[in-house]
Symmetry: D2
């Protein structure tokens, strides 16, 4: 069975800005989904901010193997309830790929536990991404570096935790650098951040970027069964202890009582 | 100047449970602060849930080098505003030490970005902590292992991100293990989680535990100046780029415009 | 095409000790290879210390996707030339799984860059392995913990670098703990250390251990093409620089000269 | 007592190349030691390849808190015995700072367990180092970025293991990037790699570079007592087990026997 990817798009710039609509006539999310669907191992659909529950109902997430997220102008419009739902899905094993300005998306900030800030400049400058982890699965089919002739600059320091692995680092014409490909694990879920993708440039039409998107989905996918409740903290009664022990000492909790949250 | 530590205590069990009040007549927070104050390099005060703003005003946090946190029964009573304030302080460089049941404290969950769950049993069983990172500063003055005759059990899997370093791992009489000392960095702030400290046992009267608390405060302390605003994402105008570039291509943002959040 | 695994066995205890020969009549390496061969995605063969070049010629390694290594009594008899050859293969992308007493094998020490020491006791005590990274691929099909009724004890501190991920931690009846499943990346190669497997006990006949071995091989396998020479440090001439620059300043190297090693 | 630093210099270019001798009339090692000695918390001396045992006797290393290493043309002339001695010192708790072309020095390769290769170009191009870990102790007193007008280029992929923390990333005029500041722990020893320092440029006269050197020494320094033998793997007899157990099952080792190496 192919990996079930859902591309979540904020879908605001595409509706209000002629430049963006020109580059991505069906929306950035649709462009990314179309790309993923060229890979026989992936089947991708889309969801947008404007749909009820942003298109991310509990049922939909339960059937999503990997969620991709692009947001920018409307981070604040994303419902906190959906954010928690998305995080729960990640913790239970759903893979997740955050793209570009999603560095400030609510679920990314929530999963990182850090400011996720950076410096930026919109000047159509050249970006060159370098592979820093040889033969990392996300780099399959890529050369040691590739260029995007026009991109927005994102600069260090990038306010994220030290990753499991740094996969890409970007060079910018204006003199900055940025850790552009970072992997994390949160609960049972794999998380990948990938930097490029400013809305006014044709970044998601670039072949190398498309390769990274496909690889990223495959890397983030975890075929194991989802964890039913990723937040439970079960009590292990004395009689169920792996080794025989006898209860002793003062107790706060009554037998069988739930823990505090 | 000594390190300014603040020990935050939930202060609920001490007020409502005779056993806890007996072990910690002045509260757990005061016991921990007293311990820290025996070290000439540290000066410790306390704050509690019941104080206005839980004793953690913006001014107080600005003068706190390292915050220690013990909470259990009343995690949900901690104001979200204070939680965000605490996280901002960590991101700007304040050190933080989370103790025992603070694994489910709001600021810990917020900083980890993960479920922070575990298994548990309150049976007064023996715990033995093993040092797993030789000569880590937090282990100064400790033997390779030490015992707590009676403790609550916490068991793996512990739902936290892979740490910078695993400093302690616990063995429990009932057959479980737990990563009991973990270090993280979030923004500019050092974060240390330390497992022991169930309220009905005299854990914070144990010499080795007291050594870890002092070491933990010193490790978490960062003498560098706090970052004024740890969340800003400044625009770098074309004319301020480190390398001379010329603006080109389509733009979404007007000159000097703020970024989206 | 299935993953081509080679199980390297020191094959000394099996030849000289009746107990070991009784538990593993065809050798530990053959038992492990037989296990792997029950998985349709893996095809496993063996190599031993006693074969010319220890059975690990350059040609053999070039056709090996994942190498498993069990050694104990004869670490010192392994040729340094073969050790370098094995490390080169790992750096070029071959996966590698080190088992039990291979913590002191030359290639493991070489790849870790650290002492790899530990404490130990041979007393047939109970070991219980706990999963510490939920849904890690290496834990596929495993419960949260499993027991080995008789094993040798290995205790912390374990002298290895902080891993990419801690996958298993062991509890021992005698009171120690050990990080029993650790992942690393060295060059382009994935490395997995797995603790259990003392020669006098039937550990490799245990179903859960067998599951870990199969999962470990699949995790360590990297389908990407091997790196031709993992050690080269190529000069990038000025005219081949990605951005146009002009040479300036004093030079030590003549044009086209090789770098120093 | 100040931190006792030893700056090890290969001292070959300085003796044979007029350009290098002009920039560093007393040798690069002496320039670096002079810099460190301006800090009241550090007292630095030097050692060179040409001295007996390269100036690094067992006694000298026992009195060295932090060793800095610069080598390039004569990596192969460093005695393997001294390399092992240096690694033992690191594992026992000595701090170590590797500079520039020491990426191919024997002790660095030995401690990393990986190829440590990179791409390079000697063209006097501009390098700009960006801080990637805010308020990391090694960045004390530094701005978010600083420039070296002429440096040798080192490019990714850099063949080293994922670090504990990435502290600096370099931007190069010719289009490459490089992880220029990386921290590791090996055994009980802290290890810092810092990229700049090509012999024909006045890099070690740069104020920011000098700040990093001083910070690096302080970060690498571990005040705890050295571990007497960092390689021992002690047997824990049954009667010394932390928990009472009874020996059972078949044994390979006789009582009190040494383990295999």
């Amino acid at each position: 069975m192919p990996i079930r990817a859902v591309v979540w798009g904020e879908n605001v710039h595409e509706q209000h800005n002629k430049i963006v609509a020109g580059v991505y006539p069906d929306g950035m999310h649709q462009c990314i989904a179309d790309t993923l669907n060229t890979d026989p191992e992936i089947t991708a659909t889309t969801a947008t901010l404007q749909e009820p529950e942003h298109g991310l109902t509990k049922e939909r997430l339960a059937e999503t193997d990997v969620l991709l997220w692009w947001g920018h102008a409307a981070h604040g419009d994303v419902s906190d309830e959906v954010v928690e739902r998305v995080c729960d899905a990640v913790w239970s094993g759903m893979g997740m790929v955050f793209l570009h300005s999603a560095h400030f998306a609510k679920p990314f900030k929530r999963l990182m536990g850090s400011p996720c800030n950076l410096t930026w400049r919109e000047a159509g400058e050249r970006e060159r991404l370098w592979v820093t982890s040889r033969n990392h699965p996300i780099t399959t089919g890529l050369p040691d570096s590739f260029e995007l002739e026009m991109e927005e600059m994102y600069g260090e320091p990038f306010g994220v935790p030290e990753p499991l692995e740094t996969v890409f680092i970007s060079w910018f014409q204006g003199g900055e650098v940025f850790r552009s490909g970072l992997t994390y694990k949160r609960g049972a879920g794999n998380v990948f951040y990938f930097r490029p993708g400013h809305e006014t440039y044709p970044t998601y039409h670039n072949t190398h970027v498309q390769t990274v998107l496909k690889n990223g989905v495959k890397w983030a996918f975890n075929p194991m069964a989802r964890i039913a409740d990723p937040n439970i903290a079960p009590n292990v009664p004395v009689e169920a202890a792996p080794e025989k022990i006898e209860e002793r000492g003062p107790k706060l909790h009554a037998d069988g009582e739930e823990g505090f949250r």
